[in-house]
Symmetry: C2
Subunit: 426 residues, 2 copies
């Protein structure tokens, strides 16, 4: 049986998972691909730290040139977890004629287009299933199974850390700070959790999903991003009492050929299957013209789930090599970028306000809503500490432009403060 040589950049959690899956499932992989996949070379920053690894006789060095110049390596797996270095390495590897599989979502979201172009020019494969939603095979599914359909919206829970924190706040009735601390203690959140809790990680994943669903390559500044750091236990409990669960939802939809992509805390109706996604799990809902709603649920991270997506890519590349058709882009759907105007982006909203407990404030508030033509379907005054009352309302569907008008008008009032405005999804 002919051999395909694999190279590894990085040997952390995901890298070790890839080694393990390739070793454990060698017979099955060979029966599917008709090739024996063998790890031929590893590049790590500190080779001396990996002396005890289970890769007998595989050269392990720190110099990327060793990989670039090794003719035995055909497919390189990049799981280093940095951006700049990975970008440089991947470019040089593609230029040298290697196929590349990466799990690097930050890099793909920021530089994907450039790398895809180099790969196409050199007729090499570049795949990155593991970059979105870890163990859920969502990218390949969009390419293969929605090709003849028109995707209208892709939404979901694509960050496990924030979903873990929100689940803990909801179930254990603890504050954001306490839930974050427990997530850090358990390894579900990093010591600097900024990228996760501020929604940046989710935004990068939504950029990749938007490329697959609508063929448009957006930049981070095209995505409206709000993190979970300001979500209060009161919001979560208020939402529950109304039949909703607060989740950090990434949402990409097409409105008249233009994209609208956002990440932010969202109230999900408890009858919606997304509301039931607990802890560090992820789920992506694809809404399409022909099929309607489908949901893909599973672990969003973790050594072996992520490694499985990487190995699925390796197998796909191996098949392409066998057939002689490398160089087709992972997702060939292309569409010019156009961003929907705020007047076209519509949703119901949950608004939480702090209102000074003096007469006339409700009147001022409802007058602003009426002036902005924003009607509401529910309004509650939930508590007052003597000085301030907390008022919560759920609006009917309004445009983002109308919401901004309401926000502006409330901002100039002395006695009313808008604390949070979250989307509502039924």
């Amino acid at each position: 049986m002919r051999e395909i040589g694999i190279g590894l950049l990085g040997l952390g959690t995901v890298g070790s998972g890839v080694v393990r899956l390739l070793q454990d499932n060698q017979a099955k992989i060979s029966s599917i691909t008709g090739r024996r996949l063998t790890i031929k070379r590893v590049i790590v920053r500190h080779p001396e730290k990996h002396r005890d690894t289970k890769l007998d006789g595989v050269p392990m060095t720190a110099n990327i040139e060793d990989m670039i110049q090794d003719p035995a390596v055909q497919i390189v797996v990049e799981v280093m977890g940095t951006i700049q270095l990975a970008e440089d390495y991947i470019k040089r590897l593609l230029q040298a004629g290697k196929h590349v599989v990466t799990a690097n979502k930050d890099l793909i979201a920021q530089k994907g287009g450039e790398l895809v172009d180099i790969a196409a020019k050199k007729q090499r494969d570049l795949m990155y299933e593991a970059s979105v939603a870890g163990g859920i095979p969502i990218l390949r599914t969009i390419v293969n199974s929605f090709a003849a359909d028109q995707i209208l919206e892709v939404s979901g829970i694509v960050n496990g850390t924030t979903n873990y924190i929100l689940t803990q706040m909801n179930q254990k009735k603890v504050s954001y700070a306490a839930a974050l601390k427990s997530a850090q203690d358990l390894g579900f959140a990093e010591s600097d959790p900024t990228n996760d809790v501020m929604g940046i990680d989710a935004a990068y994943k939504m950029i990749i999903l938007t490329q697959f669903a609508f063929g448009m390559s957006l930049k981070l500044e095209n995505v409206t991003v709000e993190g979970i750091d300001k979500v209060r236990l009161e919001d979560i409990q208020q939402a529950q009492s109304l039949g909703y669960t607060i989740k950090l939802i990434g949402d990409a939809k097409e409105i008249d050929g233009k994209a609208s992509v956002s990440v932010g805390p969202t109230l999900i109706a408890n009858s919606n299957p997304l509301a039931a996604v607990q802890n560090e799990n992820n789920a992506v809902v694809v809404k399409s013209a022909a099929v309607g709603n489908t949901m893909f649920y599973g672990p969003g991270a973790g050594e072996l789930p992520t490694a499985n997506s990487v190995v699925s890519d390796i197998i796909a590349v191996t098949k392409d090599i066998g057939i002689g058709i490398t160089g087709n882009t992972f997702n060939s759907y292309r569409h010019q970028v156009a961003i929907a105007p705020n007047s076209a982006v519509k949703s119901a909203y949950y608004l939480a306000l702090k209102v000074r407990d003096i007469p006339g404030q409700m009147l001022a508030l409802t007058r602003i809503m009426a002036e902005s033509k924003a009607s509401f379907r529910q309004i509650f005054q939930t508590s007052s500490d003597g000085d301030f009352a907390r008022v919560v309302m759920i609006t009917h569907e309004i445009s983002l432009a109308q919401l901004e008008k309401v926000q502006e008008k409330v901002a100039v009032l002395e006695n009313i403060e808008l604390i949070s405005s979250y989307r509502v999804l039924d």
Copy 2:
């Protein structure tokens, strides 16, 4: 742009959906496949009934020979909805060198192996994504995304009719007969619902899933099948009060290299995402060694969802033709059939019993359990009409062999009748 000629066998709901999707998404499909897909010929039993169809100038006849001998047709879509005729037609089409896409689950479950062999011998593609779970792309996902992983269990709700009936019983507190009638009135159940309510349809789908997950081609007699026709409203309500929802679950697992496949009413813990799958929707959970649990949820039937799966297959075949690699089987994973013995198949069970309300019966019952080494974690006597009491228990995990021993021993007792024994899934 080069053309690929499509032929249609049948022009019912799914056939019309395929026509519509091919017409509506022509540009996108061409941009992905590099080919123009054109419907060249249609075979229907009564051509005169389809005069008003939107297929101008496409020849429509009743004779399969017209399709077999048309050199313009490369891919034939079989959506006739019969078995015998479809088997004969598909064999002759494959022999004549046509590629075939079918949604015919009964045929694939019963004669799949034979058809796959003919296709391979003639180097032609045979695909059938639409045969399982309608709009959910589960077969292609297993092939592409779990290739390097070891699937341990595939389970789920794969019949929309029965899930609709059970959902109605649960939500509206109506009897099985009333829920079936409303399903029939709404078109979710056929006038002869036997195949659906007795679990046969689900069993065929599980046979196909077992082939993909474990490489084993089972027959219907290898599957333990129980329908929902004996599920009582009392069972559903009793289950709810214990935190479970009753669903018709198809389950295929591998135990020490041997398969165990069953279809039957099952108590699903409400924390399990399968419990939240409502009405006619389907969901399949894949449990694998590396990834853990993933769930794929969506519409299990319907004109356009099913048609989308058919068109995904057409696109896959078109790509294979373009690359020149037709004749690879849809799923190449092969493993010898072995069925796990009842002593190895373990589960917790819900047992509902009718017990004559005289002293000593509980003692007799608990003695039988003890003799069969079957312990229980919960037992309730829920009601008595004076003569008979209803007793419900949930066992700890026991083997199917132990369950059968209990069933046998209870069967000889005069004063105790075992009404139902359903699996319990946490």
